[in-house]
Amino acid sequence: MIRLENISKHYGSTQAVRSLDLQVPQGELFGFLGPNGAGKTTTIRIIGGLIAPTTGRVFIDDIDMQREPERAKRCIGLIPDRPFLYEKLSGLEFMRFTADLYGVSGDGLVQRAERLLDFFGLLERSNELIESYSHGMKQRLIMASSLLHEPPLIVVDEPMVGLDPKGIKMVRELFRELVSGGTTIFMSTHTLKLAEDVCDRIGIINKGRLVATGSIAELKQAARVGDADLEEAFLRLTQEETFDAPGDYAN
């Protein structure tokens, strides 16, 4: 579903992502982990078509993002980490706006939008302007709108930020349900417990470089941490990368 070929991204002299090669098959929940500033969000922006890579190519469902960006984006439901929305629209109006934008129409549209809003606990307040929503409500509205066009791929950046425990449980179950129905999910997170519980496979990025990919067991094996948890493996994998060259700090 996702194929990244030799992706690099430079911001001036800073190299945010370096030679990233990655494939995520259909129906997989892929967790993308890394320390702050490792390049997770940049990678998500590239996959979502928000920015173009400096080098390399992105394929979504075998569609080249550079050549056919509109077609590729139609396959994606993007959920950013910060829920910036059109504050002067109501929740239901935003759903309708999204439906128009993605070309979703038909008689059942309003019912489908209301069902999604109901699932995310927003139906009662769907006629209020978004400006009165809390951070968590806005986050849930984006999730609801991203599912409206039934995309085969969900790209989500830090899904649990701003959600209450009930919301976290709901999203966790939803993701597993979507994946069992064949949807692919690419999720960046700092919550290692979440990644450990729901992800089929995990990729760890550090300083813009993909340092490890695999199942939890494979990562633990690569990190040589035995029966320790994912946190230990994560720290070891990112630490080795960071502290392999202590001279960097001195210089």
Partner: protein
């Protein structure tokens, strides 16, 4: 560096221009036997009333933003600092922000008075002693009004104040304009005697207005009456200190409750969409319909936009009023010729009004997406389509507005059918170019972090848009001027136009048409390219 050079250069030129024009006007007045000084001081009085009104209005908008709406206020109020100190710091910041430009451009006017009347050092010492308290008084009145308004109006809807202020400004502008009675200054015949005319000019402004104290202080110091100047300066200084203390007391009791209410989430229920607007716009492609509906709803629900509409309405009313009072029949030049000349100049004026409106709404339209611009970037709609949708959203209302303007003013001018046709067709071709420049350059220089869309207009890109738009309008008018004059004179005097002149006429109109096409295509292309290459905002 380039921005600094452009802004600095234009600012200096404008500053020097004000100085030269004021100095020349004052020198001209001095040559008018008998009442030259009366005219000069009447002008000074008008200038001070205008400055004071501008200062009050500017300070109302700035203090509302600085005291209640800025994003950093939550952090500021979390600090262990007293409310009075927070108010004082914010109010002083607001005073500086709202008055620096008025002060900078008032200086050349005051200096030219000093040079014309060969004032001594006392006059130049009085200038800062007049300007600083005048700014503090204006800002003090504004802050008090804003604090009281936030208490009186439901605090959760504080932004509605903008609409209220817009209306107030419209009325203020109207009254200021009427009080100036500019037509009487150039039409002494309207008065029964010259004495009445002079008496009217000498009527002092209200002694309760701080601008009158400033006027008295400057006038007395110009005349060398230091003691009297000191008295009026003292009035200004004591009033500014009094207002500052009064505001500190007000802030202690009502500033924080008002701010606190402002932070409470506003809940506005919107009627469940029945789909009427969707059905009405059903003929549009899906993405276009989405953006049109979003744009319309956002516009009407954001009251901060309304005050701008009031201002534009005031601008148009004054613009039309000017045409209705033109004393064409009293001109020694042939009326038909003058009417058509004015109609020709009017095309340029209408296009400049259009530029000002496009700057506010068209130029800032991409920036108003703000941090939510990630929605556009991630949507299956190209930036090209998105920008062209914006263009088509703004074209119909602005085209109708510019055509209504030109037709109304032409009716007031009673121009010939030829000029009526020419102006409406010219505007029909000019308007898309001005709008494309606004949208394209607004996309090339977006500001997704601006708290207020008007900030985008005053940016470097906004300035470039104004310059290019003015150059474009000027070029089209110049290209049309020669051929139109020839056609007009041949019609008036009944001579035949030779073949080479026909070639020149067709050539000029063709180049104007080409310019109109380029003005659409080039800026839109630049906007698309630069927006595509830019980094997304609000999604880091």
């Amino acid at each position: 560096m380039l921005k600094l050079a452009v802004f600095g250069g234009l600012g200096t030129l404008f500053w020097m221009g004000i100085f030269v024009v004021t100095y020349r006007v004052l020198r001209y007045f001095q040559r008018v036997e008998g009442f030259g000084d009366v005219l000069a001081f009447k002008l000074l009085s008008m200038v001070l009333v205008t400055f004071f009104s501008l200062l009050v209005f500017s300070a109302i908008l700035t203090s509302l933003s600085k005291l209640y709406l800025s994003r950093d206020l939550l952090l500021v109020h979390a600090m262990p600092v007293s409310r009075e100190r927070i108010f004082l710091a914010r109010w002083l910041e607001s005073t500086a922000d709202s008055s620096w430009m008025v002060v900078v451009y008032a200086l050349p006017v005051f200096l030219s008075y000093g040079f014309t009347y060969r004032a001594d050092a006392v006059y130049y010492a009085v200038i800062p002693l007049v300007i600083v308290p005048l700014c503090l008084i204006a800002s003090g009145i504004s802050a008090a009004l804003v604090m009281l308004a936030v208490v009186v109006l439901p605090a959760t809807r504080v932004r509605s104040i903008f609409a209220f202020l817009g209306l107030a400004v419209l009325i203020l502008l109207y009254f200021t304009f009427r009080m100036l009675r500019p037509e009487r200054l150039v039409d002494p015949e309207a008065f029964t005697t010259v004495m009445m005319y002079l008496q009217n000019l000498s009527t002092p402004a209200s002694p309760l207005l701080p601008s009158t104290w400033a006027y008295d202080a400057l006038r007395e110091s110009l005349g060398g009456n230091s003691l009297s100047a000191l008295f009026h300066t003292g009035l200004l200084l004591s009033a500014s200190v009094f207002l500052t203390l009064l505001n500190l007391m007000l802030a202690g009791s009502i500033y924080f409750p008002g701010f606190s209410n402002t932070q409470a989430a506003m809940i506005r229920l919107i009627q469940s969409p029945s789909g009427g607007l969707h059905r009405l716009l059903g003929f549009l492609p899906n993405a276009t319909r989405a953006f049109v509906i979003k744009e319309v709803r956002t516009f009407w629900r954001d009251q901060t936009q309304w005050s701008q509409l009031f201002l534009i309405a005031a601008l148009i009313v004054i613009y039309l009023y000017n045409f209705s009072v033109l004393p064409l029949e009293k001109s020694p030049i042939q009326t038909v010729y003058l009417q058509n000349l004015f109609s020709f100049l009017n095309m340029g004026l209408a296009a400049f009004v259009l530029t000002a409106i496009t700057a506010r709404f068209g130029f800032s339209t991409v920036s108003t997406e703000g941090p939510a611009f990630w929605i556009v970037r991630s949507a299956p709609v190209s930036i090209r389509t998105y920008l062209w949708i914006k263009f088509w959203i703004y074209l119909p209302p602005l085209l109708v507005l510019s055509e209504v303007l030109i037709v109304c003013t032409n009716i007031l001018l009673q121009v010939t059918p030829f000029m009526m046709g020419l102006s409406t067709i010219t505007l029909l071709f000019l308007t898309p170019g001005v709008i494309a420049m606004g949208i394209g350059m607004g996309a090339a220089y977006p500001d997704f972090t601006a708290e207020n869309p008007t900030q985008a207009v005053t940016s470097f890109g906004g300035l470039l848009f104004m310059i290019f738009s003015a150059a474009y309008i000027g070029a089209v008018i110049v290209l049309e001027a020669g051929p139109v004059y020839t056609l007009f004179m041949s019609d008036l005097k009944g001579f035949r136009i030779p073949a080479w002149q026909w070639i020149w006429i067709y050539g000029s109109f063709s180049v104007a048409g080409l310019l109109a096409a380029l003005a659409i295509w080039l800026p839109m292309r630049m906007g698309i390219q630069r927006l595509e290459a830019g980094t997304p905002s609000g999604h880091k």
